[in-house]
């Protein structure tokens, strides 16, 4: 047993933290408020910057898997700028991770160096207007035509779609759902306009429409494995989603603590009133426990523990709900000044709401976790 981070990880985090403080954090407010073109330009630049120092590679899966490192890199990034965390993760983990887990040696060689250096941006397109939590209801189809898959369908909420050069797409082949790589310039691929979101606005999000769109390759040895592949990817993905939540919650806690120290009322700092100070303590507790759960889950994947997916589900559920609470308390501590558009807590408050929605809602996670526990005793019924 050892609850501490290895010195090499601490050094890595220091280097990443310094990079983020210098290059990324100063732009987060601008990313939140600017228009789609500037957003795309800034986010491409942020991702490229993370790529040049090996940080994107750490956000991927690693070989052998290093989800502890993946988690730490993403949490650190989310503390500085949640949108950059989401975008970088969509590229380095959801897209490049899928290729590195399931792609042929050729596919890896073609795409990974570009994606992990930040030269290219990637995206994973799976949810549809009629298929979110229920991925089996998938509508996009792909048929093989002389050895080439042609994809037809629509994906409506795709992180990075407006800036991506590489798409991993879920579509139904005759054998069942499959993951395919579609390149940004492919014929028949149409990227929709940049969508406006409640929070994490700096991450470019858009829809994708494919009409007889030529896929570059299939991921996996045979078609029809898409749902299993996606399940594997997204069960690990809960670790990174937790990292996003912990980073946001941590940032809320930090600025709320500063506010409670610097803002005075009735002759003393407001943090000295228990109704404020104890909120800070509850923030700390939830952030601390979220991080513990997430690191535990990451470590379970790295060591091949069988229950890693359910641990990751617990971590994502806990940290997403914690993040909502922490942001809510933070807004309460900033009060009227926090409610002004453009205030840091206002931005984080909107960002925080994403946690319980993204990549498996809290409702879906509870079902997964409960069934796992209930099945232990199913034989008794």
């Amino acid at each position: 047993m050892d609850y501490e981070l290895e010195p090499s990880r601490v050094d890595f985090l220091k280097a990443l933290g310094a990079h983020l403080a210098e290059r990324v954090a100063p732009r987060r407010a601008q990313l939140d408020s600017c228009g789609p073109e500037e957003r795309a330009r800034l986010m491409r630049d942020n991702i490229a910057g993370l790529g040049t120092h090996g940080f994107l590679a750490a956000m991927s899966i690693g070989n052998p898997p290093d989800l502890v490192g993946h988690y730490l890199a993403l949490e650190e990034t989310a503390k500085a700028c949640p949108a950059t965390c989401l975008s970088a993760r969509a590229s380095a983990f959801l897209c490049a991770g899928a290729i590195s887990l399931f792609g042929s040696p050729g596919a890896k060689e073609t795409y990974l160096p570009r994606l992990l250096s930040g030269e290219a941006v990637g995206a994973l397109a799976y949810s549809e207007p009629g298929s979110g939590s229920d991925l089996g209801a998938l509508g996009a189809v792909a048929e093989s035509d002389a050895g080439v898959y042609l994809v037809d369908g629509e994906k409506d909420i795709v992180v990075n779609a407006p800036i991506a050069e590489v798409f991993v797409v879920l579509a139904r082949t005759p054998e069942g759902p499959s993951l395919l790589v579609v390149e940004g310039g492919a014929r028949g691929l149409e990227i929709g306009p940049c969508l406006d979101t409640l929070g994490i606005r700096g991450a470019p999000v858009g829809g994708v429409r494919m009409r007889r769109c030529e896929a570059a390759c299939l991921l996996g040895r045979e078609p029809g494995m898409g749902l299993e592949q996606l399940e594997r990817l997204l069960s690990m993905g809960a670790v990174g989603a937790a990292a996003l939540c912990v980073g946001i919650a941590h940032a809320c806690m930090e600025i709320s603590t500063e506010r409670a120290k610097s803002r005075s009322a009735f002759g003393k700092p407001i943090g000295m009133f228990q109704d404020v100070g104890f909120k800070l303590a509850d923030m700390f507790t939830l952030v601390d426990l979220s991080r513990l759960l997430a690191l535990r889950a990451a470590w379970a994947f790295d060591t091949g523990e069988r229950d890693a997916p359910v641990r990751a589900a617990c971590a994502k559920l806990f940290s997403a709900e914690a993040c909502s609470k922490v942001a809510n308390w933070g807004m309460q501590i900033f009060a009227g000044h926090g409610y002004l558009a453009g205030s840091p807590i206002e931005r984080l408050y909107r960002d925080a709401r994403f946690g319980e929605i993204c990549e498996r809602t809290s409702e879906i996670l509870r079902l997964t976790i409960a069934n796992e526990e209930l099945d232990r005793f199913a034989g008794f019924a």
Binding site: V68, E363, A370, E373, L374, A378
Partner: protein, 386 residues
Amino acid sequence: MDFDLAPEQRMFRETVYRWAKEEVAPLCEDADLRGAFSPEIWGRLAGFGILGLPFPEEFGGSGADIVTCCLAGEALGHAGVDGGHLLAWGAHTYLCGHNILSFGTDEQKRKYLPRLASGEWIGCMGLTEPGSGSDAASLSTSARRTGSGYVLNGTKTFITNAPVSDVFVIFANVDKKLKHEGITAFIVEKGTPGLSTGRPFHKMGCRCSATSEVILEDCEVPAENVLGGEGMGWIIALSGVEWDRCTLLSPMLGCAMFNLDACARYANERRQFGRPIRSFQAISRRIADMKVFVEALRLAIYRVAWAKDKGRMLNPLQAAVSKVYAGDRGFEMASEAVQVFGGYGFMHEYPVERNFRDSKLAAIGGGTSDIMRMIVSRIMLMGFGV
């Protein structure tokens, strides 16, 4: 980073769990209904080596590390041992026994530890007073120096094990003007003139641990019974806090695991509206929440235990996190377990009812949840770099 247990630690937890489920848990329901400390249960814990677990072998113990002690607490609670006997164990082995081990002289250790380990003697610790709870340093029990020792005067309250104890570790102040620097710990033996215990309290939960006042009226204690030296009492009391926030919490983790198992089993068996109630999300979501609670609490508790085994200074933030989470969320989760069982959960015959009552103590004893928040918020506001 490594979250795994050693194979022998895993085996130890499994062994304790199986044994306690067979040999101890069946006796607990009856004891709890009577609200009585059970010498039979106590004897079985002693016989299995639980009472002296962290004491070195030369003092009749097993020399177990802190993580292993927590595994024992977790396994006992998980097996269905009631919170009262587990609390009695905590007061006996850690608050009394381990304080003597950490701060006692060789003679004190030789005299008391083997008897505490074997169960021949029962131990307790008296810090809280009628007028001094969360503000423990304000205690008013006095210790007046005499030629050969000290004379103690004062009243302690809510003292776990007091009515059945043979060995009392009592905190008193040698000079009120010195405030906490005057606080001194004394070992007082049963039968010492001037030492008496009050009528046992009837408690909401943890009913099998005997609890009462300890009254000291011109109670003469020889100088050799000072524990750790004059003025060391506050340091001893604070060191006990570390135990409160790992080993004493580990049974709460175990009880939550027991509840999770009980609810998961029941939700499979119980049918309403023509189907098992597990298929209703109102039930299954509670199972999920209990699972998350158990996993998070385990991490928080073992982090404290691991750091203590490494000989680290206590991280007060980490300790407070485990305490406040076990206390507040633990009570909520115990209440949800009762809800899963519906009307049956309201009946004494179902252990989830007992666990519900027992679980309330974690937010009160050994530093309330409010005190935990005070500690954390003060550290945050003092400029700690979070």
